[in-house]
C-alpha cells in the first residue's frame, strides 16, 4: 500500500511539493511558537527552576501573592517560628529584591537580587547553570553572580572579577551563570547579607522562608499546619508555586492567548491547505481511483491508499520541519534562547502532523468514497 502511495506521490510532484510545504510551514510554526512559549514559561518560573529543590522542601511566602516573581516581605521572626514546628528540619531565609546594576561604561540595567545564606545557597543556582566560578566564591563580601546571556542586552563584556555597581555600591562578579535568566530583570545570586546591603532591605524582613522537612511524607500536613498557624503566610510545594507563577503571568500578560491563537491558526491553516491540495490531487487522479475500484479494489482499499499518501506527506514534512526546528534552535542558542526540543515535544509535534495531514485527507477520502466504479466507462 505504501509503495503504491509513494508512486502516486512521486508522479504528482507539483502537488506533492505543495502539500509537503504546507506540512513543513505548519509544523515549523507550531514547533517554533510552542518551543518559544515553553522557553518563556521556563524563565517565568526560573527562581524555582534555578534552585536545587528537594522533595522535602516547602516554600513559605506572604499570602497575597501566587507569583514568586512578585513577593511581599514577611517578618524575619517567622523563620524561627516555622523552624520550631515538629516536622520541620531547617528554615532558610531568602531575600528577593529589585536593584539597578551599573557598569563601568555607564550602562545600567534592572536586576533582581537573590540572597540566600552561605554556604548552602538554598536558592541556587544549580551547578548545571554555572559557566564560570562556583557558589563558594559568593561567600566573600561584595561578590555577586551575573548571567552570561544578559551581557548582550547590557551591552557589556562579562568576565570574572568584573567590577560593577549595584544601587550605587561596589560589587565584583565572582560567578557567571548560564541559562539562569529570569522573565524580566536578570537574576544576580549572592549571600543574604550582601543582598540586604545592596537592596537596603531591613534585617527584620525576608521574602521567602525555604523550609526543609524531616520526612517528605509530611509535606502536605506541614503545608496545612503552616497555613493554619500563620494566616498571613502561604506554604507551597515549590513546583506548585512555579506552576502558579507561570499561570498568573500567562493570564495577566495575555501571552498564553496570543501564542495559543498562533498555534491554533497554524494548525487550522495547515489542515485546510493540506486538505484542499490533497482533494485537488485526488480529483486529478480520480480516473485512477475509479479504475482501481472497477478492477476489484474495495472502497476501503482506495480510502487507505489516500490516507497512506497523507501519511507519507506527514512523515516527509515532519522530518523537514524538525530539521528546520533544530536549525532554528542552533541559530538562536548563542543569544540565550535555550529552546528545548525534548522527545516528548517531538512526539507531540509528530502527532499534530499526523492529525492535520490525515485529518486533511478526509476531504479527498469523502470524495473518492462516493466515486462509483462505473464512472470509468
Amino acid at each position: 500500500m505504501l509503495r503504491l502511495a509513494w508512486k502516486f506521490l512521486k508522479f504528482d510532484k507539483a502537488k506533492s511539493i505543495g502539500v509537503i510545504t504546507a506540512v513543513v510551514i505548519s509544523i515549523f510554526l507550531i514547533g517554533q511558537q510552542l518551543s518559544l512559549l515553553f522557553f518563556l514559561m521556563g524563565l517565568m518560573g526560573n527562581l524555582v527552576g534555578n534552585a536545587p529543590v528537594r522533595d522535602n522542601e516547602v516554600w513559605v511566602i506572604e499570602k497575597q501573592t501566587n507569583n514568586v516573581n512578585a513577593l511581599n516581605y514577611i517578618d524575619q521572626r517567622l523563620v524561627q517560628e516555622i523552624a520550631s514546628l515538629p516536622t520541620v528540619s531547617n528554615t532558610y531565609p531568602v531575600i528577593i529584591a529589585p536593584a539597578q546594576a551599573t557598569f563601568l561604561d555607564g550602562q545600567t540595567a534592572g536586576v533582581t537580587l537573590v540572597g540566600a545564606q552561605a554556604p548552602t545557597f538554598i536558592m541556587g543556582p544549580l551547578k548545571s547553570r554555572l559557566k564560570e566560578g562556583s557558589t563558594t566564591q559568593l561567600i566573600q563580601p561584595y561578590t555577586v553572580s551575573a548571567e552570561f546571556y544578559s551581557a548582550k542586552t547590557w551591552n557589556t563584556n562579562l568576565e570574572m572579577n568584573k567590577p560593577i555597581e549595584i544601587n550605587g555600591k561596589s560589587a565584583q562578579v565572582k560567578l557567571i551563570t548560564q541559562n539562569a535568566q529570569a522573565f524580566g530583570a536578570s537574576l544576580m545570586y549572592m549571600d543574604i547579607n550582601n543582598a540586604r546591603y545592596y537592596s537596603n532591605i531591613s534585617p527584620s524582613k525576608v521574602s521567602i522562608i525555604v523550609t526543609t522537612l524531616h520526612d517528605k511524607n509530611t509535606k502536605n500536613s506541614t503545608i496545612n499546619q503552616i497555613n493554619t498557624l500563620f494566616p498571613n503566610l502561604k506554604a507551597w510545594d515549590p513546583e506548585k508555586l512555579r506552576s502558579s507563577t507561570i499561570k498568573e503571568i500567562l493570564i495577566s500578560s495575555n501571552m498564553g492567548m496570543s501564542f495559543g491563537t498562533l498555534v491554533v491558526f497554524a494548525m487550522i491553516s495547515g489542515f485546510f491547505i493540506i486538505g484542499l491540495t490533497l482533494y485537488s490531487s485526488a480529483l486529478d487522479r480520480i480516473k485512477d481511483y475509479g479504475t482501481l475500484k472497477a478492477i476489484g479494489a474495495t472502497k476501503n482499499y482506495v480510502n487507505k491508499l489516500i490516507i497512506a499518501q497523507a501519511f507519507l506527506y506527514a512523515i516527509i514534512g515532519y522530518i523537514i520541519a524538525m530539521i528546520l526546528l533544530y536549525g532554528f534552535k542552533m541559530g538562536v542558542i548563542n543569544s540565550g534562547l535555550a529552546i528545548d526540543i525534548s522527545p516528548t515535544f517531538a512526539l507531540f509535534l509528530l502527532l499534530i502532523t499526523l492529525f492535520i495531514s490525515i485529518g486533511g485527507s478526509l476531504f479527498a477520502v469523502r470524495k473518492i468514497t462516493k466515486l462509483e466504479p462505473a464512472s470509468v466507462f
Binding site: K7, K10, L292, A294, I295, T298, K299, E372, P373, F377
Partner: protein, 233 residues
C-alpha cells in the same frame, strides 16, 4: 447450460432524477456463454454501457436478477462484488484506463496485488502477461511513453493476468488505428476460442466479422440477438 457464464433475468435499470424517470435498460433476459465473442452494439445513449456495467457487476439493477456461473449475485454487497470483479472479470476500457503513475508492469501487477498474491510471483505472472501481448520490451515504461495500441495491449494484459472467465471490453478499438484494432480483435477472438466469454461494446460495424453473437440495444431495449453467421446470410 454448461457454458453459461452470466444470465440476466428480467433485469431493468431505471434512473430517477427529480421528477424525471429514465429507463436506461428495459426488462432484459440474456445469457452469455464461454468460448464466445459477443458484440453489444447500438447508438450512443442506447444503454450499451449500462448493460455492460450490470454484466460486469459494477452497478446494481433496479429490478431483476443477475446470475454469475449460476450464483445469484444480485444481492451481493459492494465488497462481494469487488471480490467477484477482481477474481472473475477482466476489464478493457475505451481510454485504456491505465494507472498513470505506474509502469506497464506495475499496472498489470495491480490486480494480482489486490488478490494478495506474493510479490515475486506477481512480478513473474505480470511479466508473462506482458510478454504474451508482445510488450516484453516495454515493461518499465509509464503509460505516457506508450502508443495507443501498446496501452491497449497493457490493458488486455491487466485484464487477463488474473485468468478471468469473463472479459468485458468497452470500445477497445475506438482509440486505435485500423492495424492495431485488427491485432487487438484477433487477440480477443483468440481468448474467446480458448474458453473465455468475451463481451465487447462497440459502434464499429467492422468488428462483426470477429463476433459469434451480436446484441443490439436501442433506447434501453435489447431488441435483437443474432448469431453472426445468420446475420451475414
Amino acid at each position: 447450460m454448461d457454458n453459461e457464464i452470466v444470465r440476466l433475468e428480467g433485469v431493468e435499470k431505471i434512473y430517477q432524477t427529480g421528477d424525471t424517470t429514465i429507463t436506461a435498460l428495459a426488462k432484459t433476459n440474456l445469457t452469455l456463454e464461454s468460448h464466445k465473442l459477443t458484440l453489444i452494439m447500438g447508438p450512443s445513449g442506447s444503454g450499451k454501457t449500462t448493460l455492460l456495467s450490470i454484466i460486469g457487476c459494477i452497478i446494481y439493477p433496479t429490478s431483476g436478477r443477475v446470475f454469475y456461473k449460476n450464483n445469484n449475485v444480485t444481492n451481493y454487497n459492494e465488497n462481494q462484488l469487488a471480490y467477484l470483479r477482481l477474481h472473475e472479470i477482466g476489464f478493457v476500457f475505451q481510454q485504456f484506463n491505465l494507472i498513470e503513475p505506474l509502469t506497464a508492469l506495475e499496472n498489470v501487477m495491480q490486480p494480482l496485488l489486490l488478490q494478495k498474491e506474493e510479490r515475486e510471483n506477481v512480478r513473474e505472472r505480470a511479466t508473462q502477461a506482458l510478454l504474451s501481448v508482445g510488450l516484453g520490451d516495454r515493461l518499465h515504461n509509464l503509460p505516457k511513453k506508450l502508443s495507443g495500441g501498446q496501452k491497449q495491449r497493457v490493458a488486455i494484459a491487466r485484464a487477463l493476468v488474473t485468468n478471468p472467465t469473463l472479459i468485458l471490453c468497452d470500445e477497445p478499438t475506438a482509440s486505435l488505428d485500423s492495424k492495431s484494432a485488427r491485432e487487438i480483435m484477433l487477440e480477443l477472438k483468440q481468448l474467446a476460442s480458448s474458453g473465455k466469454a468475451v463481451i465487447i461494446v462497440t459502434h464499429d460495424l467492422r468488428l462483426r466479422e470477429f463476433a459469434d453473437y451480436t446484441i443490439y440495444v436501442e433506447e434501453g431495449h435489447v431488441s435483437t440477438e443474432i448469431k453472426n453467421e445468420e446475420y451475414y446470410k
